[in-house]
């Protein structure tokens, strides 16, 4: 456990650069700015009843916070986990420690989860506060839980993708997100059940204060999972563990030397 603590502490320290901190604040501020812009420029409040407005805000927050904010944060932290060590050639020092690869990736995963979740929580509190709706505590708790689950699952997925394709980690993570999570995740077929979005979306509908008329729409029957919220959480955690273990296994099996051809 000393190794895990060390990686976690050092990775957090390394994250505290001016650029990274600015990015953290940008991620936290992004949903708040959009919320303020919508309230200032949009006029949907005058055309909808309170229940409909709450539903619209819920959808917006879901898209902005556990969606964009978490995904972009994780993209910056989890995707280059292996690539960063290979590029600066520090991999050899860490991989030649007992279980070094395991602790390194687990530590980076935890840093990614906490980094993304804290930015999302800050964004949640400020955005929900700025939207002016009631049931704010419920919204904050729901979005915070969704953000944590989203950060956990996407950190594991991006870590795996970044381990398989360290040279173009961010590009492949973006491709994965668009193709698998957005496209396949929206197809009403068996394939969407293995996506993170499918489970998150179900939890969103279960937890957020959505208008019953919205929940009754036919489309929800095809893009939501059956079963309790507990089951959805279980599936998300299981998927996260699966992706994380797969990432660690791939890292152990691949030959990541920092040596170049000239070092033969």
């Amino acid at each position: 456990m000393n190794s895990l603590r060390a990686v976690f502490v050092y990775e957090w320290k390394r994250s505290l650069t001016a650029g990274r901190i600015a990015w953290w604040f940008a991620m936290a501020a992004f949903p708040v700015l959009i919320t303020i812009l919508i309230r200032t420029l949009g006029d949907f409040e005058s055309h909808n009843d309170i229940a409909a407005q709450k539903s619209v805000w819920s959808v917006i927050f879901y898209a902005l916070i556990p969606g964009v904010c978490v995904a972009l944060s994780v993209l910056l932290t989890a995707a280059p986990a292996v690539a960063a060590e290979l590029e600066q050639r520090s991999w050899a020092y860490l991989a030649t420690r007992p279980n070094g690869i395991f602790w390194l990736l687990l530590g980076k995963f935890l840093v990614s989860v906490t980094w993304a979740a804290t930015a999302a929580w800050m964004g949640t509190i400020l955005s929900v506060g700025a939207c002016g709706m009631d049931e704010q505590v419920r919204m904050i708790l729901s979005l915070s839980a969704l953000s944590l689950l989203s950060a956990t699952a996407y950190s594991a997925v991006y870590l795996l993708v970044g381990t398989i394709f360290p040279k173009r980690a961010m590009v492949f993570c973006m491709l994965y997100t668009v193709l698998v999570e957005l496209v396949f995740g929206s197809i009403p077929a068996i394939i969407n059940r293995i996506t993170v979005q499918f489970r998150l979306r179900t939890l969103f509908v279960n937890w957020m204060p959505l208008d019953q008329r919205m929940k009754d729409e036919d489309v929800f029957q095809y893009v939501l999972a059956e079963g309790s919220s507990f089951m959805q959480c279980f599936w998300l955690i299981a998927l996260s563990v699966l992706f994380l273990v797969a990432g660690i296994v791939v890292a152990h099996r691949k030959e990541f030397t920092s040596a170049t051809e000239g070092d033969i």
Binding site: Q88, W91, L94, P98, A259, D263
Partner: protein, 318 residues
Amino acid sequence: MSAEVTIQFQNVTKLYGRVLGVNDITLELGGGAYGLLGPNGAGKSTLLNLLTGQLLPTRGTVRVLGMNPRNNPTVLRRIGFCPGFEGMYASINGITWVTYLLEMQGFSHSAARRRAAECMELVGMAGGMERPISSYSRGMRQRTKLAQAIAHEPDLLILDEPLSGLDPIGRAQMTGLLRDWIGMGRSIIIASHVLHEIEALTQSFLLISGGRVLASGTAEEVHELLFNVPLEIYVRCNDLRHFAARILSAELADSAKIRKTNNGDDVVVLSTRHASQISAMIPEWMEQDGLKIYEIRTADDSLQSLFNSLMKIHRGEL
């Protein structure tokens, strides 16, 4: 420790796609100190990466301390590795880096910090250990790399070009430190392309080139090889023609040419298998013929020429 077979390679071949890293190496080394000598691109780093388990052999088996080193925490707990490249986190200071790696080794934070300070002091970095690594000179980086490799007191120390970039005083200090390490009965394998760098540390050498172990033996045997394979020797003296004639009449060289060097000096370039005999005869000729020898040296990359010759012998061309 010394009775234990420390390193065992059984028909080990490593290919990087179509590029050959090491080629069918079989060797067994007990405890002790070994120098791995070879020119750049010889396969030294590949061999060391196989030892640390970072690479998997394409064919054959590698055993370190009796076990497969690949992802093996038991082996990794007992080895210390100093790679040939830098790769340390530039933004943190030296002691933090060594502390971090010790914690990765399983030390608690306080024990790691204490041990890291001791090791940084041991390698002569007491004054600079609180400075960011980005501000270190090449020599300071080498010392820090060595500190992280020895800090957990491994049974087998694997060093890739550890003295590269050090000034003469730094080299002497590091050599002393490594000698003490060897004196404690620990095993060490040092890769280098400069013979005299590791000659001061060990009497056992492995000569590697083209991915093959071409020869092994003591320093004396390596010197013997150096003098008994055709070498190019440059001699600068006051009477080049007379010296060349002396050499050829004594049948001590295959050829002798007078050539101008890049510096503009005229030298005799000898191709000889009898360098040791020539060096023995020179004082006599100087006395008898009034020759004044200003400089004798092998071609710049003498080790490379030795390896080229060994490769030719290996292929049956010599």
